[in-house]
Symmetry: C2
Subunit: 387 residues, 2 copies
């Protein structure tokens, strides 16, 4: 596209955690109204709701109309967008199209997921619907198992030990301490990581993001309208989706995330930038190995060298390429369909200089990458601070 002149003029987010006393609609409405207020309460014409599993886990489809209704926006255009764990940023991509096509002047995008109302086995089964239902999930492959295959192959092929992945978890938890909405705002040591309970060898508990609830939202409009409103805006310089085979076994090389590489390449082209121009990168660290493969696919490290970015302390707040600056999926939490929107809200806050103690110094260009399934859908977004 090139998203000609689309800007984020408002952001909102709920805390991430086990919201036993809140329903899915409560969370979505809280984030949405908060974003609308942050944008100066403009009239919203279209709503895009990113969500993966409301049907399976809460017995509710049709979230576009539901959220519009309960947010006091009855009548407006509203649809749900689904791309597994990439649903949030995919919804933003479509919201940008709505603005860029002239279909709507002010667009709201909210990502929401309510995962904690059902038993863990049901959540695992629902998550597996992001994989190939007939040829992966039905054979018993869960997402932890799929990521274990990836991590084991990476360790084998590149001669890396499990302990060498620790910096990614340590960095995420360190950053979560400064994020009041994070689910796990506490630090983790290398020893903790080393001794963590194994889930699917070599993926341990501390390589895995949590099951949780949350919602995050942004308000989009054209750059012209944002200027006319006098709003503090963050520009969407690029938003691009790339896909790959849905099943891991259909890839020639499972360590190459082609969807991520395609999506990043398209985003760089739209924005006219290269990886070296990016000031921070919100990676999709659903599992540690995903951070590493994502950094390699997006051009921040050569094949097999992504893990070194952690070892060389390049991923911290003042490093070469800060990642998971507010805790990431690992420590802020991973409410699946909301995750892409959390990444975007956090990136927007960084670019507005409102990231508090987690502020990346002089951040003007931030990138997020939201991944669905084993990299079958990847959405890369590049945001830019406006003076």
């Amino acid at each position: 596209m090139s998203t000609p002149g689309v800007a984020i003029i408002g952001v909102g987010q709920t805390s991430v955690g086990e919201h036993w006393d809140r329903s899915l609609r409560d969370l979505a409405v809280e984030a949405l109204l908060s974003a609308i207020q942050d944008a100066g309460s403009p009239a919203v014409a279209s709503l895009f709701v990113g969500n993966m599993m409301a049907g399976e886990l809460t017995g509710q489809e049709h979230l576009g109309a539901l959220v519009a209704d309960f947010a006091g926006l009855r009548g407006i255009e509203a649809v749900r967008v689904e791309a597994a764990c990439g649903s949030g940023a995919a919804a933003l991509r479509l919201g940008c199209m709505a603005v860029a096509s002239g279909a709507a002047d002010v667009v709201a995008v909210v990502g929401v997921e309510k995962m904690t109302d059902r038993p863990g086995a049901e959540v695992t089964a629902a998550l597996a619907m992001a994989a190939d239902g007939d040829y992966e999930a039905r054979q018993g492959l869960s997402f932890v198992a799929l990521n274990a295959l990836l991590m084991r192959r990476y360790m084998h092929e590149h001669g890396v030990t499990r302990e060498e992945f620790a910096p990614f978890c340590i960095n995420a938890h360190r950053n979560a301490v400064g994020n009041e909405r994070a689910m796990f705002p506490f630090t983790i040591s290398a020893e903790d990581f080393s001794k963590a309970k194994m889930i699917a060898d070599p993926v341990s508990l501390l390589d895995s993001s949590p099951v949780c609830d949350g919602a995050a939202a942004v308000i989009l409009t054209s750059l012209e309208t944002a200027r006319a409103m006098g709003r503090r805006a963050v520009r969407v310089r690029a938003s691009a989706i790339g896909t790959d085979t849905i099943a891991l076994h259909d890839r020639r090389d499972i360590l190459e995330l082609r969807g991520a590489a395609t999506s990043a390449a398209r985003a760089y082209e739209q924005a006219g930038v290269t990886p070296s121009d990016i000031d921070f990168f919100e990676v999709h660290d659903a599992f540690t190995i995903m951070s590493v493969l994502s950094l390699e696919a997006a051009g921040f490290a050569k094949r097999g060298e992504g893990v070194r970015l952690g070892l060389n302390e390049e991923i911290g707040r003042t490093g070469r390429i800060p990642i998971t600056t507010m805790g990431g999926l690992k420590a802020r939490g991973h409410p699946v369909g909301a995750t892409g929107m959390y990444q975007l809200v956090e990136a927007a806050l960084q670019l507005r200089g409102e990231a508090g103690v987690n502020q990346v110094p002089n951040a003007t260009l931030g990138m997020t990458q939201n991944i669905g399934g084993s990299g079958a859908t990847v959405v890369t977004t590049i945001l830019e601070a406006l003076a």
Copy 2:
């Protein structure tokens, strides 16, 4: 929007029925490849998949990547769009935005649903997720029950008998005879309708559309590209979504489909036309009462008089406002997330003069209305024949 210059250059559809030997991906890929071939095999850049219940009924989310993968389109942008039974036309609306924004030159939109692999009670429960999960479905209200409330109220308020709804069913079945892809290509008499088995009084079996499988697809591009390709094109003159309360009990007047009225008004405004300009209207006859309320909301009859359009023989192929020209949801079938796309494919065929024995004479402007839930999401599309 005004969908500036978007055209349909290819259509494809599977037969509608109980496809025991075909999976969801088989159906989607068949319709999609057929549409691509019909369009002259252009390179597709983006794919929008309309679907409601693949998660609940087939254990598969993430249909964007899945369908792209199995259709031989790995790598392209792909997402799923969901708006309950309005998913198909909602996907078209987003596809139009993709073209109009310049995000993609050639866009594929496919609607698909696979309903017959699960027991009826599970299908009924999954369909009820289009209603308010917490306040309707959980209280036992199914969609047949919700439509029974609407029909009973209509009969009471307007002094109409059950038998007076018969022409809608008779017309749909008569038109299905000429549609080789229809599920029920046989005629129904007034006596059949009168004696039909009651499902939820006053909704009988012959007021209800069937549980079935199917997929339908279109290829979109800009008018400029369509002309350059020398393709036989149908122009998308309008595509508009309107919403209403998700729960029936939250409406001041349940016989007023405000979402449909809003959606139709927006579509008329985009196209710069009035109901009298429309040559035929593909209504969402999931239940007979929905056809009647839709005709009233879209301005083809005054309140309480929609049922007379049937009694006065105005809905037939050569009547004032032909509806369900290829059998409608009632007789072609209602594979939920695919239905909106079937309506659009059929409307495009009418406007290309390729509707065979069901051809509406001199059709140049056709309208479709695809409804999600009890009218909580309504998508109205207006298509125009190009010389």
